[in-house]
Amino acid sequence: MNGFAGTDAAGTAATWVAAAVTVGVWSYFAGGARIFRLAQYLLAGLATGYLVVVSVREVLVPRLLLPLAADPGGVPLSWLGLALVALLVAGRWLPPLAASVPVSLLVAATAAFALGGAVVGTLLPQLGATVLPASAAGADLASALLGLAITGLVLFTFLHGVRRGRVAAAAAGAGQWLLLGGIGGWLGFLLVSRLALLLDRVRFLLGDWLGIVR
């Protein structure tokens, strides 16, 4: 049971709609492309409507309009925000230079936060943890050597255009099998992951909708 829809009339209607759309999407395999496309349009329409509601209810009104209405002189930054929003909305009818101001600010700020965070939070700590083993002896050293050996063998697999001797060919073959083993292991994880998603839908149909399973 996904536990989202209640047992009242609204919950029952939601369950029936969700079940109908689920079956509609699956009908694609049996050639029901129109129903599938309808479900896609429904998703796109609902997602757009939902985004508008979230933007208005949780961002524009409480964060921008209400503070401005309560204290128009006390929040100069909000006036600037309102001007940028207006520029963005009216961008289609304004000169490209004016419309590019809010977009540029948006892209620049996002890039600045993302880049700074990536360097300080990921690049440097990961380099520190990867390049230098925690201790130069024992299990860490063995892991580092094993990692280097496997990486080398896998790299041999991609060595094209170079004449290979018997040893290099054997190394490339071993690298190929290691690569296949790694991809196979990862595929196994993903298979279980996707089966869990399918199982959730089947359980929804048999449990929440039809009430056959608990």
Binding site: F29, S55, F113, G117, A129, L190, V192
Partner: protein, 276 residues
């Protein structure tokens, strides 16, 4: 036989659905005699150890930003973690930085309250716009300036830094990586746990080694181990349908290999009956 199946492409999906549904019905009738095993419970143990380190009456932030498409994979694990936090007497506050996450958070808060959780110990902080910028702002502030919170969460106005722990339920847009980069670098002492779908594991697992994450549950089996460890047996996935589904999937892979490797699979070559 293989050619006949290939002529009906809907047959494999239909077989998969039928087998999974039959196995689910059988599993439901016969009870949980088959369970998902995990030979390596280290990840679940790390998460439980982090929860053990929480102080009494802890205030925990749940950064709820899963993708709607993959949330069902981790939903049972997330619910087990939430009920374990409430069981331990923690106060939990939900916040989202993506609209998708906001939908999941609102649904989970409603489900918790409807399920009998103390409404005074669950807070919905809503949606914070701005993605990374919003996260950074949240480090020192939640809500508009001067916003008031219920008495149990009065400290929450001071932002993420006021919480004892964060549980990140991640997705593709905002996940543990973003939290580590934008929040852990600013609040390094706060433990961060993460629950993510399997496809994010390679991206997130390195942060465990650096100690930037205190715990990570990123696969179905890790989630099942954690759930059974905290006594939430209902949260475990049904193993029999999973097994049946995997067998069908192996059949599909075998068929694909047969089609690719058979000698007459040269592109452009036509079957004798097609030529006729």
């Amino acid at each position: 036989m293989i050619e006949r199946v290939a002529a009906r492409p809907w047959l494999w999906p239909a077989a998969l659905l039928a087998v999974v549904a039959a196995a689910l019905l059988l599993s439901d009738a016969a009870g949980s005699w088959l369970q998902v095993a995990n030979p390596d419970p280290a990840r679940a143990t790390e998460v439980t150890a982090a929860l053990d380190g929480l102080p009494d009456d802890a205030m925990v932030l749940v950064g709820m930003d899963p993708d709607l498409g993959t949330y069902p994979e981790i939903r049972a694990t997330v619910r087990a973690a939430l009920s374990e936090l409430l069981e331990r007497g923690a106060r939990i506050a939900f916040v989202s930085y993506t609209p998708e996450g906001r939908a999941a958070a609102a649904a989970e808060v409603e489900r918790l309250i409807a399920g009998g959780a103390d409404a005074g110990r669950v807070l919905d902080l809503g949606f914070v716009a701005g993605a990374e910028a919003g996260l950074v702002l949240s480090v020192t502030q939640f809500g508009a300036a001067g916003a008031s919170f219920p008495a149990a969460f009065a400290d929450a106005a001071a932002g993420i830094a006021a919480f004892d722990m964060t549980l990140v339920v991640g997705g593709l847009d905002i996940g543990p990586r973003t939290w580590v980069e934008q929040v852990v670098t600013r609040v390094p002492d706060m433990p961060v746990l993460a629950v993510v779908p399997t496809f994010l594991q390679p991206e997130v697992a390195p942060y465990l080694r650096t100690g930037q994450l205190a715990g990570l549950l990123a696969t179905v089996r890790d989630g099942a181990t954690f759930a059974s460890g905290v006594g939430d047996g209902e949260a475990q996935p049904a193993a029999l349908p999973m097994l049946a589904g995997m067998l069908v999937a192996l059949g599909v892979i075998g068929r694909a290999l047969y089609v690719v490797r058979r000698p007459d699979a040269t592109p452009g070559r036509r079957e004798p009956d097609e030529q006729a």
